[in-house]
Subunit: 430 residues, 2 copies
């Protein structure tokens, strides 16, 4: 029976595996983590709105009833494309007939001095846990010590969806801490600052949505600084282009991702912008029709005749993973593979309670409460696919709508050295 | 207004604070963690039955409506009994008129060679998280590698309530991993071993309950070895008195606790067995009527005329904390303090699903399903005191009764160096 290895238990890998369930193939799903992470809600974990377990789900539970799928916990060190084998960090070697690589990306610091050492990304569950512990610890310190001088800053670098969502959630966290937890964190003590080099927020969205996001964030107390580049990150804050220095309690890095440094980035094949692996129309590697690269790791083409590459979105990961799974089945059946065609389902970003933006296919846009309800509904539907319906319905809505109930626990072990950078789990190696 | 400092947010500290809520005193609750831990269920976190957030609750949320109680996040370095001041690790100094010390205990290794370095205790939330990550990682390793030779052991040292509960829960975790997660962990590959130096389990309970616990654990697959002393712990397992060596995947330390090394243990006052602080009949320090030591940290007298010291139980912590809070109020009112009298409410230990033992006041004992239902009900009632009723009712019962839904996530950041010992959060310093 043909052996298929799927590396990475993210959206791409999981949707590939689903296509292969029940087929006459022996599938091994490999990941260095034993769980799938629902990345779109990681910012909620980082801002103490959700618990880690709300956005992570055990890989083995997901594949429980898919008898031809096995899970292998381990970190993939290398792929030998010629020998058709995957080497794991613990010495294990897995041979394959077909390979699907969905190892994602990792935080991209774009060679900005000090960013890798002092800024805190938000791409993995570890990142989110770490950031939550760091933010809560810094807020406790501000509460405990009467600092003189200006306010401490929670600085978010990057005005894309992740940055906007994080800044919006941080300002809500501050409100919870002040109103419910009686912490002394008024505006003279702490402020949330969102910085982006572009001239507006949410560059990938329609202009009116970017302007709406900035206006809404400002009305909620966020200092939004667009057209502002960060030149350097230190342990005390950032230096902006022009020389201005901004002290910060925490620097959150929402500045983008790269495939460089990940397993896919290390493959000896062609790489495009951000290290994304160049794939053919059917998402396979040139010269290796048995290997597919999907999701954030790949420069996924928009579709036949469309030379453009689509952005690194959850929907792209889902659709490309599903496509790769189908192509493996076609190859086994001796049929030619099909080209991938991305079906645009739109994009969303939430700004906070009762405020979100949604860009739907065909140019339709939603914002405000309507956008927010659409966002809530969509995420709930997607989460339900993975988790128990009852738990999600009660727990998730409850936690999300009922602010003060959030898990504002500072996890000492996970926080490690709060002053330093974190070394683990950032590179997306399956 | 009189200033009261309560160090430690465990059962003792919280119940002291509750007595002082609304009184004309200014209370500061100090803890190095920003949450209360429901310790009796920590073994469930360690065995992936509950999430950390299920057994921990933010300190600020607990005192939200108690306007005269402030929370101070910080680690207490020292108490200056003469100057009536508490010094914090971050340099803060807090003066007090009354002090209540409820800093708990820490794992006691009783000078057994290698135990502190290689065995994993289960006293704090960090301990439980760490242990869960370690156990799940070791099981994944057993699943991935076809070991030859005998089974790997999950070794639990200590046959008291914590050891019995942990061994029982580990064997259930194995069943979940085999039945639901399709892991290859049959009895030839992994076994749970419970070791105690005494001639039976649950020495604090009636003999018939200890025998019932051993018999039930054995019927569920646990290897129970009583009358067996551990002489040395290594990174590979343990050496028993007599020279026998037992290899182990993990050594869980449920061998008892000590106050030595904690803040209370470092006070320049008289200490009893296990470093517990010797207190007067009213739980105050000799020569310092304004200082009370409560809970696990104190050698709590059973009552007037009863020279015996009561064991380190949650009920003792609750009752002694409450008592100390009341005595502060009496002292402020110029009234004499009262002696503490422990009201025995019994003890319980669960062995697993549909099996628990309960020793009630007056010699009554419960066991089996009846004991288990009593245990479930009692813990639910206590948890409800801290957490939202709806969440607890749905979530906790759901997770507990519905095995495969448990949070079997390996948290990379929290696990740190899985091969080594953990350095943080074990010493209970408020």
């Amino acid at each position: 029976m043909d052996r298929v290895i799927v590396i990475g238990c993210g959206f791409a890998g999981l949707h590939a595996v689903r296509q292969l369930a029940g087929a006459p193939v022996e599938v091994t799903l490999v990941d260095q983590h034993n769980f799938h992470t629902f990345q779109p809600l990681l910012y909620q974990v980082a801002t103490a709105g959700l618990e880690p377990g709300d956005v992570a789900y055990p890989a083995r539970t997901i594949i429980r009833r898919k008898r031809n799928i096995a899970f292998r916990h381990g970190r993939v060190e290398a792929v030998d494309l010629e020998a058709r084998a995957v080497r794991l960090g613990d010495g294990g070697i897995l041979d394959y007939d077909h390979l699907i690589v969905g190892t994602g990306a990792t935080a991209g610091f774009f060679d900005i001095e000090g960013a890798a050492a002092h800024a805190h990304p938000l791409y993995t569950l570890d990142d989110a846990n770490h950031l939550r512990n760091l933010v809560l610890t810094r807020l406790e310190e501000v509460d405990a010590h009467n600092r003189s001088g200006g306010p401490g800053r929670l600085l978010v670098v990057g005005g894309g969806a992740t940055g906007v969502e994080t800044a919006g959630a941080l300002v809500e966290l501050l409100q919870v801490c002040v109103r419910y937890d009686r912490m002394r964190l008024d505006a003279s003590r702490v402020e949330v600052v969102l910085i982006d080099a572009a001239e507006r927020l949410l560059v990938g969205f329609a202009e009116e949505l970017g302007l709406y996001a900035a206006e809404t964030l400002r009305s909620r107390g966020v200092v939004v600084r667009v057209g502002t580049s960060v030149e350097k990150v230190t342990d005390r804050g950032v230096r902006l282009a022009g020389g201005e220095h901004l002290d910060a309690l925490v620097v959150v890095w929402a500045g983008g991702v790269t495939v460089e440094g990940t397993l896919a980035g290390s493959l000896a094949v062609a790489h495009g912008r951000g290290g994304r692996v160049v794939v053919g129309a059917d998402l396979s590697l040139a010269g290796h029709p048995e290997v597919f690269v999907v999701g954030d790791a790949a420069a996924v083409p928009a579709g036949p005749g469309a030379p453009a590459v689509v952005p690194q979105l959850a929907q792209v990961a889902i659709q490309s993973g599903r496509h790769a799974g189908r192509q493996v089945l076609r190859r086994m059946a001796g049929r030619p593979t099909e080209p991938f065609a991305y079906e645009d389902k739109g994009m969303m970003a939430t700004i906070g309670r009762r405020a979100a933006v949604a860009q739907l296919p065909g140019g339709l846009v939603l914002r405000g409460t309507l956008g927010w309800l659409a966002w809530l509904g969509l995420h709930l539907v997607y989460l339900i696919g993975f988790r128990n319906r009852l738990i999600v319905l009660v727990n998730w809505w409850w936690r999300y709508l009922n602010w003060p109930g959030g898990p504002r626990l500072i996890d000492t072990a996970a926080s490690g050295d709060l002053a330093g950078a974190e070394a683990t789990g950032k590179d997306g190696r399956g």
